[in-house]
Symmetry: C2
Subunit: 174 residues, 2 copies
């Protein structure tokens, strides 16, 4: 049995779709996920950087994100053979704590909330694997990092990459 730590935003929670949707609505734009390849919304529209970040300070922002395809089923399968922890960098947006907790309880009811970790610096995580879209979290992590593909990290090299949850299933169960 291995211990697998899993990030939330852009890994199990579809952060970008909602962020783009509220931004497009408010600024009359029609940006898509493709526009975020190798970048982030705040870098694409630097003059609106503060407004773009401010969306995330709304306590409800993270409550109704869509679930990433296949993540529920694959994580439930993985949890039968492995120890699963959800490790999210929630300290960047402390107002998100409750929404993130409720979202996890709603969409991943088979996970034990004693295995939820709201942190900042993920080098504190003691696990065999970390599935994350931010490669910076792998630098001081002593297990193996699996880079979950997201628009912003498409040009990142040097890490084992998984493009979606079916690939995660293959990685661990095949």
């Amino acid at each position: 049995m291995k211990r697998i730590a899993i990030d939330m935003d852009e890994v199990i929670a579809d952060f970008n779709t909602k962020h783009l949707q509220v931004f497009n609505r408010d600024y009359n734009e029609s940006l898509t996920l493709n526009d975020l390849t190798g970048t982030r919304l705040r870098e694409l529209r630097p003059h609106l950087q503060h407004e773009i970040i401010d969306y995330l300070k709304d306590p409800a922002f993270f409550r109704d994100l869509a679930v990433m395809p296949d993540s529920q089923q694959v994580i439930e399968e993985l949890s039968e053979q492995h120890e699963i922890f959800i490790t999210t960098a929630a300290m960047e947006f402390p107002t998100s704590f409750t929404a993130k907790y409720e979202w996890l309880k709603e969409h991943f009811p088979f996970l034990d909330d004693m295995n939820f970790v709201f942190c900042g610096d993920k080098s504190i995580i003691n696990a065999d694997y970390l599935i994350d879209d931010n490669a910076r979290h792998f630098q001081r992590f002593k297990g193996k990092g699996l880079l979950f593909t997201a628009p912003h990290n498409r040009n990142e090299t040097g890490y084992t990459r998984v493009d979606n949850w079916l690939e995660v299933r293959n990685y661990f169960l095949s």
Copy 2:
């Protein structure tokens, strides 16, 4: 430089004094810290177990706890030589997240909030030391546990014990 993980309740936050105060007020009792030696309030008054736990579900309960004597100064000193993380089992009371975060920012402003960890099962913590009043957290922790004396753990043996923050200072700085 070592990494030291530090619990909140009964270690840096004086949980018991407030819990006893609201309980004594509401049930016309005069219980003291001495009455909690080797036990907990909910075990001492089992017929009021639910009411005793319910206090902790109030989102504001943890916001105005007193700071444990000498903890601020000693942790600030320790932080000059060591990496400090605050690791609290907040998942037991998810309504406490915001109050705990604000309390830390108010009383330990010199700590980086990227080093705050709200978790449940502390075996996820990757640190050299864990200062905690609950010995159960040491069982799967791979660093060294330091048992911070609290009324409920006075009869616990088998762990290195620190009675107060001046003893913690001596342990690390002498």
